[in-house]
């Protein structure tokens, strides 16, 4: 894999994992359904 391949691979993983961590952390710290 080339350096630019690694760049896109890592960037995509970071964006998706970041979104998941951010959302799940918030979901578990916020209120339940009414």
């Amino acid at each position: 894999m080339t350096v630019s391949g690694w760049f896109f691979f890592i960037l995509s993983w970071l964006v998706i994992l970041g979104m998941n961590i951010y959302c799940l952390k918030k979901v578990f710290s916020k209120k339940e359904l009414k």
């Binding site: 391949g5 998706i16 918030k26 979901v27």
Partner: protein
């Protein structure tokens, strides 16, 4: 004395509805369609238009559907005809347009359960060691065709085994829907989704530790396999086709434009958050697609087939990739039966969490608009869906499934998504929409999204709709590429679909007349 209307079903927990929406979105396309699209449209560079589309199209549409669904639920409408009518009460015809939100998922359900049943069957054949013993592509193809009843061969003498697996799958779906939102769909998704992710992580770890299995072919290694998928071809970004492919992938992967999310969100209360929940469902789907889907099939196939054959593999249709190539690849690694089982069980769980969601709009329509009890509504749904599934099973090789997929799974989605985005931003009004999105919200949507939802998302969808119609829609409508022998089957399917749509429109008319009569009586 008239009986009081039964209380609508509801979600038991916030994670429950998030898992259910993510379960509806995560399907075979995450694991099979995404890697093929990425590999064929610029590799790593594909992620630029993909992520742009996700943020400008996918996420806004997800918020729009959650918000519209919750809004309609407040008027005791769980399906698009009622939800659209609640948004645009002055328009007499918008409710008929909403029929697409029941018709589309029902049509997909009719053929999807059959395909889903193949994954259950292949899980079974994996554990029995039958699949992993097949030596090459030709044997695997022959096995698949025999199983589907397309030919009689050494593996199968008829459709019997496939039909048994279809019956199991179909009635498993019905049993889940029968148990309702909280006790059926929510419970299923809360168990199935974590299991799906565990199977997916198992497979990713196995693929990422493949190294160089054949020392005689040192270039057939994992790093080059990942490189095949991720090395960017930046010149692809100049191609409109690549941008369109990325936007289409984002749209189809999230299950937006079907009508299912509207129905699911209608079971929320007025003050429940939709912003964070919608975004979380998107994130989970993307995890399944980019992290899991992008790391299993293509890199593993490269390691075992090499740089020349992989190009042909990447051009295969999703079915061949999933049912022919992947079991062959997994058959070559230690503990092949276990990993092959993990793969097909993963696809089955992705399938069943999607198919139960496809059934829900039709069931909700009967419950909400005709006051039919859940058990009876599910019984009617099961009887009609079972009968209409038969042409998809027995005439699979005659183009029936392609025709159903075109109308139910593609045309209706793009059209429905475009109209609901315009309805939300322009008819409901962006200021009112903005306020409705933020009702009970646990996070604030960035202000830029007000502009995006009003202008960018509808425009993006109109471009996709137009381009798709001329590139793929028109040739399919004009039966291009359909053989003379298959034409009667395809045309018959099309007539049946028109009749189904018309019947649903008549039911909407009856329901509204009934509602008006009841309101008069109460007044």
């Amino acid at each position: 004395m008239k009986q009081a209307k039964a209380k609508r079903d509801s979600w038991g927990s916030r994670l429950g509805i998030i898992m259910a929406v993510a379960g509806s979105a995560v399907g075979l396309g995450n694991f099979l369609r995404f890697p093929v699209q990425a590999a064929g449209n610029g590799g790593g560079a594909f992620m630029i238009p993909y992520l742009v589309s996700l943020f400008l199209l996918g996420i806004p549409l997800m918020w729009i559907e959650w918000t519209l669904g919750r809004f309609g639920g407040g008027f005791e409408h769980g399906t698009a005809p009622g939800i659209f009518h609640s948004v645009w009460q002055k328009n007499r015809f918008i409710k008929y347009f909403g029929v697409i939100g029941i018709f589309g998922p029902f049509v997909i359900f009719v053929y999807y359960t059959f395909i889903e049943s193949w994954t259950l069957a292949y899980s079974y054949y994996s554990l029995k060691g039958v699949l992993t013993a097949l030596p090459d592509q030709a044997a695997m193809q022959s096995f698949l065709k025999g199983f589907q009843g397309l030919e009689k061969n050494a593996f199968f003498s008829g459709l019997g085994p496939a039909y048994v697996f279809f019956l199991i799958t179909f009635f498993a779906n019905i049993a889940i829907i029968f148990r309702g939102i909280r006790g059926g769909i929510e419970l299923l998704c809360k168990i199935a989704m974590p299991v799906l992710f565990i199977f997916g992580i198992f497979l990713v770890l196995r693929v990422l530790t493949l190294g160089t299995p054949d020392p005689a072919k040192p270039s057939w290694n994992l790093m080059n396999g990942l490189g095949f998928l991720w090395n960017p071809d930046l010149s692809a970004l100049k191609s409109g086709k690549v941008w369109l492919a990325a936007a289409g992938q984002t749209f189809f992967t999230l299950s937006v434009g079907i009508g299912v999310i509207l129905t699911y969100a209608s079971y929320l209360s007025k003050g429940d958050d939709v912003v964070l929940s919608g975004l979380t469902a998107v994130s989970m789907n993307e995890f399944a697609e980019v992290i899991l889907g992008g790391s299993i099939v293509i890199p593993a196939a490269f390691v075992f087939f090499g740089p020349v054959e992989i190009a042909a593999v990447a051009k295969q249709g999703a079915f061949d990739l999933g049912f022919v190539t992947t079991p062959l690849v997994l058959g070559r690694i230690p503990m092949s039966a276990f990993f092959s089982f993990c793969w097909f069980a993963l696809l089955f769980l992705a399938g069943v969490t999607s198919s139960v969601s496809l059934a829900q709009p039709a069931v909700a329509f009967m419950e909400d608009e005709f006051d039919i009890g859940r058990k009876k509504a599910v019984g009617i749904f099961a009887a009609v869906a079972f009968v209409l599934s038969q042409p998809a099973i027995f005439w699979l090789g005659r183009g029936v499934v392609n025709e159903l997929d075109f109308w139910g799974g593609t045309f209706c989605l793009v059209l429905f998504g475009t109209v609901e985005a315009i309805l939300f931003a322009w008819v409901f009004g962006i200021d009112r929409a903005w306020e409705e999105i933020h009702r009970g919200a646990d996070m604030v949507v960035p202000r830029q999204y007000k502009f995006i939802i009003k202008y960018v998302t509808p425009l993006f969808l109109l471009i996709i709709l137009g381009a798709w119609f001329f590139q793929e829609g028109l040739p399919t409508i004009l039966l291009k590429g359909v053989s003379a022998a298959d034409r009667p089957f395809v045309i018959g399917t099309r007539i049946g679909l028109v009749a189904l749509f018309a019947a649903l429109a008549v039911f909407v008319r009856i329901a509204w007349k009934r509602r008006a009569r009841r309101q008069k009586e109460l007044a």
